[in-house]
């Protein structure tokens, strides 16, 4: 530890959002961002990104391949608040509106090396059938105010009603 500045440890993340399986949808693109704790700060690389639109592959597995690179370096002083990558996938609905197709989050792997993660994706549901219909009709599905909430626990605890 040199005299200049406090000691930190670095976390370098290299990888890519390879592909997705959305059996019902096509022509999707994805966004990623990172959620991390107070003791973390990105030092290099992109904290957010938005991918190209991809179509389903023609083969049997019908994967949506993005191969969208991720490259970011964090510095930190505390493993608490380890970064999580938050992915959100969007695509057009029948009327051509861009709607969200899935949110998901996963911690950046804790151990060095090559890791492959499969993230289950989900979207918030409409609160009622009627709203479900209108949101489908209007092309304004319920979505999170911020995709980052999927990586945060705040406000998601069971509340005594």
């Amino acid at each position: 530890m040199a005299a200049g500045g406090p000691s930190v440890f670095l976390l370098m993340v290299n990888g890519q959002v390879e592909s997705a399986q959305f059996p019902e949808f096509d022509n999707l693109y994805c966004k990623y961002c990172f959620v991390y704790g107070q003791d973390w700060a990105p030092t290099a690389g992109l904290e957010e990104g938005i991918s190209q639109i991809t179509s389903k592959s023609r083969d049997a597995c019908h994967a949506l391949v993005w191969n969208f690179p991720i490259d970011i370096t964090f510095k930190s002083t505390n493993p608490f608040g380890w970064p999580q990558i938050v992915l959100s996938v969007y695509g057009p609905d029948v009327f051509g509106n861009d709607v969200v197709r899935g949110y998901g989050a996963v911690h950046v792997p804790f151990s060095p090396g090559r890791h492959k993660r499969t993230i289950p994706m989900f979207v918030p549901e409409s609160t009622s059938k009627l709203q479900k219909f209108t949101s489908w009709f209007m092309g304004r599905r319920p979505e999170y105010t911020d995709p980052k909430v999927v990586a945060q626990g705040e406000g998601r605890e069971a509340q005594p009603s």
Partner: protein, 1548 residues
Amino acid sequence: MNPREEKVKIITEEFIENDEDANVGKRKKNSKVQRQPRKKQPPTTGPDKMVSEESHLGNQQEPAQDKPQTRLLSVTARRGPRSLPPIPSASRIGFAEFSMRERMREKLQAARSKAESALLQEIPTPRPRRLRSPSVKELETEFGTESGKEVGSTQQEDDSQSYSRVKFHVSARKIKSKPQVPPGFPSAEEAYNFFTFTFDPEPEEAEEKPKHQDGTNQEEEEGEEEPPAQEGANRMDEEELPHGKDAENFLLGLDHTANEFLAVRPADYESVHVRLQREKEMLFIPSRLTVPTYKKLPENVQPRFLEDEGLYIGERPEVARTNQNIMENRLLTQEPGRRWFGDDGRILALPNPIKPFPSRPPVLTQEQSIKTELETLYKKAVKYVHRSQHMIGSGDPSGNFQLDIDISGLIFTHHPCFSREHVLAAKLAQLYDQYLARHQRNKAKFLTDKLQALRNAVQTGLNPEKPHQSLDMIQKTINEYKSEIRQTRKLRDAEQERDRTLLKTIIKVWKEMKSLREFQRFTNTPLKLVLRKEKVDQKADEEAYEAEIQAEISELLEEHTEEYEQKMEEYRTSYQQWKAWKKAQVCKHRPDQAGSGRAEEHPEEETEEPYPEEDPVKPTPPEPTDQAAIEQQVRERAAQSRRRPGEPTLLPELSLAGSVTPNDQCPRAEVWRREDVKRRSVYLKVLFNNKEVSRTVSRQLGTDFRVHFGQIFNLQIFNWPESLTLQVYETVGHSSPTLLAEVFLPIPETTVVTGRAPIEEVEFSSNQHVTLDHEGVGSGVPFSFEADGSNQLILMTSGKVSHSVAWAVGENGIPLIPPLSQQNIGFRSALKRADAISSIGTSGVTDMKKLAKWAAESKLDPNDPNNGPLMQLISVATSGESYVPDFFRLEQLQQEFNFVSDEELNRSKRFRLLHLRSQQVPEFRNYKQIPIYDREIMEKVFQDYEKRLRDRNVIETKDHIDTHRAVVAKYLQQVRESVINRFLIAKHHFLLADLVVEEEVPNISILGLNLFKLAEQKRPLRPRRKGRKKVTAQNLSDGDIKLLVNIIRAYDLPVRKPTASKFQQPSRSSRTFREKHAASPDTRSPTHSADYPLGQVLVRPFVEVSFQRTICHTTTAEGPNPSWNEELELPFRAPNGDYSTASLQSVKDVVFINIFDEVLYDVLEDDRERGNGIHTRIERHWLGCVKIPFSTIYFQARIDGTFKIDIPPVLLGYSKEQNMIIERDFDSVRSLSEGSYITLFITIEPQLVPGESVREKVTVRRHHINFWPGAVSMYVFFSFRQQFLDLLAGDEEEHAVLLCNYFLFLGKKAWLVIGNAIPEGPTAYVLTWEKSHYFIWNPCSGHFYGQFDTFCPLKNVGCLIGPDNIWFNIQQYDSPLRINFDVTKPKLWKSFFSRSLPYPGLSSIQPEELIYQNTDKVAAAELQDSRIEKILKEKIMDWRPRHLTRWNRYCTSTLRHFLPLLESSQGEDVEDEHRAELLKQLGDYRFSGFPLHMPYSELKPLIDAVYSTGVHNIDVPNVEFALAVYIHPYPKNVLSVWIYVASLIRNR
């Protein structure tokens, strides 16, 4: 021993053995038996010979027979030290323990074997007996008895199961005993001869042989098996010999020639003996004899038995003794190092690894076909019922049951605080209770009645009235009756005596108590015993008494006569016997009288010889009964146990009627005692299944040592109750409670339900020892009632708890009792001994006593490591010394994870930082990147925090001039903190809308609208403004938020006035503004003047916006009505980087919009250079400012309007000038409100969602409670006026209410206006009616506006509040310009109180009058001079770090004189005088300066205001400054502050 007998015995043994051979199936024997027929040699010796041999043998065996016994003795002797502790110091207890353990072990072994057999029996398939038995038998026959058995005592040898075993055992003994044969034994030679001569075909011979051979080699022993085998082989050779010779002969006969070449020699015969000798040289055959222990141990070392010392030694695997011996011998010979032997002289061995019971399924026998075994059976599916006793399964209909525990109270029967009197009282009460109980039962009476009835029965029985019954029967029944009478009488007497003694004791105790009370001269207990005498009819009583005695006497007499007769009978018989004996004695003395019968009598006689005195004495005839003696006896007894006739019956009655001596009449010690009692309180803990479930309230101990609780605990239980315990805790004063005692309550029967359960009393006692220094007798310590201290008593604390436990009854009348299935103890298997859980149930595991009992019963080896934890648990539980936690520890492994001690952890700065951050302490709430190492954390990080903690209660007067304000500031700070904390909590409560963006629930209009929208054009011609997307503040970071300030234009800015200097003054507009400006001297046209430096216009204003010390300014415009239309962008930083709503709401920063005049001065010294360059100095002069708090912007989202510029009343060098060019319509309107104005648009980009202050019902906007909610509640906040004034802080509403009240007090018509204003937002103004004009007052600033003033900040009016009603605006418009304020018109104003709801005449809860204290003028003056002025001057110097700051004292004093004038005139009409005076005094200075007028609350706003004027920014080298402060005190500590700042530049 008789040799013959022995021989016979042996023969029979042999015989039997032969018989047994078939089924014993001894392999070796079998082989021999098979071999024997092949010999086909007739027995050469007859039976006689054999017998003789046997006899010979027998002779030999005789000593051998003895040997085993000696050996056995030796064995026991050797075992002696084993069974006894080897160390002589071992105490008797040790021995007892040992023997106990020994016994336990035996029992355990027996139990195990039993369990094993039980297991075996359980196994359905029969064991292959046929296969198994041979091996078993073989084992037995081969090695005599099993080593284990041999270890056992001789007793085991006796209970031989089969004869053969004994036989072999004996034979084995014989073999072993050989070496110790005494020297008189037949020599080897003899034995050899004997052997060579006799070839015995009998199997036993084969047996015998080795013995003799063994005999030959006396030193070395041989194995039992090898010699016979070899012998057999030898014999075979010998037997084959004749055959071989025959063959040889045959060969010779065939071919003689061969004979010549061959040298024929007899086959080399080596005698067995020789060969054995030779073999002995080569081979080593270890002996089978037991190796003496001393050989196996080092020299002079006593064998040490670890087991006896209490160490655990595993069970050794079973190895036959002989094998062990062989091994030992071998080891001793081969490796003399003795390292194979343990301390106890045995071979080291690991514990037996073999489980006592098989864990493998039994092997299938061949008889039973595999098929049958594998055949599947159909079993009906059984629904699995959760059998656990501990939990109630899901199958149960309702999971919760209820147990009601009613604890009604507690009575101490002894307590350390008992005085002596209390002790007696307790005793008395106890006796009395006993008496009452006895009295109620009245057993004596019952027995008396019974006696009477029996006597009657006897009487009737004796009467021969029933002739049909046989006499025998009658006699029999009468006898029975009589015996019963006897018994009953005894019982009755005993009862009566007990009654009497009880009564006597009661009286005695009472007397003692009375004497004690007299002695100590005070009374402690209200107990009072009254003996009530019940008169009895003397005569009848006497008669009854006499009759009773008579009856008894007669009965006794009868009894005695019977007895007498019986005795007489006995006497007679014995007398007869004696006579006969006498005769016999006589006969005995005669010799030769022996007969066949006599001989038999001899032994009897002999046996009785030792007791010659007994019988031979002539029996004495029993004495006849003496009636008088009996009577005497009866009467004595009656007198003792019964009430005397005529004596009144004494009925004791205990009452609490007595009075207790009051404290002041008692001695000190007693008073102390009573006080001590008062300090004590008692409570009970209710423990259910050893877990505390509830506790009673703590009740003070009463003087009578009774505590009443009367609490019912409803235990909602889930488990079947295993134990119910009450723990009595006592608290003395404030010390921690001590456990007095535990009371175990029985678990009620299932039939006991609430309401039917009786109150029961359970006694408890404690073993605590308490010695007290007052009258209290203490507990567990001896005390005495006697003066001399004799007759000591030791009483322990004890008492009774009255309670009732019952099952609750549910709503539908069903008792809430767990089903009975839960209670059954479940199955018990053969394994239950081994398995504690199945044996005593899971509950037993929690019940230590049960567990200990089980352990004792099942004879667990306490030294077995497998049982270690269990044993420790039990020992802990039963010893009771160590502390057994009776609570459940959630993180029992926490200890393992504590990598550092708590102190160390707390010392860590990093941990502290993390901790504080997670606690959301304001200083650290948004601390980023907490350093990794402690050493990287600076101490100063905590300084602020620690200082704040320290100052929390210390009032800092540095920033606050007077203490009152400091207190207020502190208070506000605390309010703010609590509000912020509440917000922080609220921040975590997200609503769905906070997280998910979703279309609202569509209604038909929205739907229709949307449908309509579908049809509308994609690109309408007239685009409409769309709302910006709001951003929730939580995800923002620094730099995301910007403040957009759009400065559009300003009106009526003051214009320069030429100072009185040698320069030509700039011309002014001819038109003056109002009268006061008319007096201004020379005015000149706004045209460019050549005289003025650089020929400037009237004014060149620009706007500078400063926010959070970021400064932006517009370009410079020209003229008093400039138009900039510029957008300024200022970054916004939230405090601590916290962009949460709460934090944003608490931002206190203010946007300062300062208007400056840019003045250019030509600094060119030399006119000649004018052509070459421009040297100008830019000066800026502050004209005025507008302050808009950030919170207003935040809440309003945007601020759009024209605001009055706060221009100081005196602006030296400037005057309000009306531009001639601007001739607008509103001039007339504006005439009412003079001043300058600026039009602004301010917003935040991106738009933030304002905080949900409504949700929390608290706003921090004005750091006060917001009373906005409704008009009705307006009445409420009248009550806060006093507080408002005291606090010197309040929001607009409070100001407005106060102002309104002033107006009303002054007799004006005034209303409170609730509406929206800019920039305040929802606020309250005051409306007054004066001279046909309505005025709207801003209560905070004190400005007033006419109703039709365009620049009135109040933009709409919601309602008016008068002193007696509230009116709601129901007009079309709400702008004050357009509405009619005539509240009498019901069409325009809807009143709250109407005819239907009349004004109820709400009384004000505020004080009628507000008291205004005069402010301390001295303090104000001190504040003015020493504090504010000094601080401000220092600040200005600080702001000018690169320049010298000179203070012009002369100017300062002038200004100081001038300020009070300003205060008195409120800035009106003083400018010119002031200017004149200044000119007079500072004629050759260019002067720019202005007074600032502010209310005083804190120092910081003053500093900010001075800073924002930018006075300090002048960097002209010879600039001088002047600063004066004046504070005008108003009552109630309201201070008005005037600050005059000026800069002076000396003109050349």
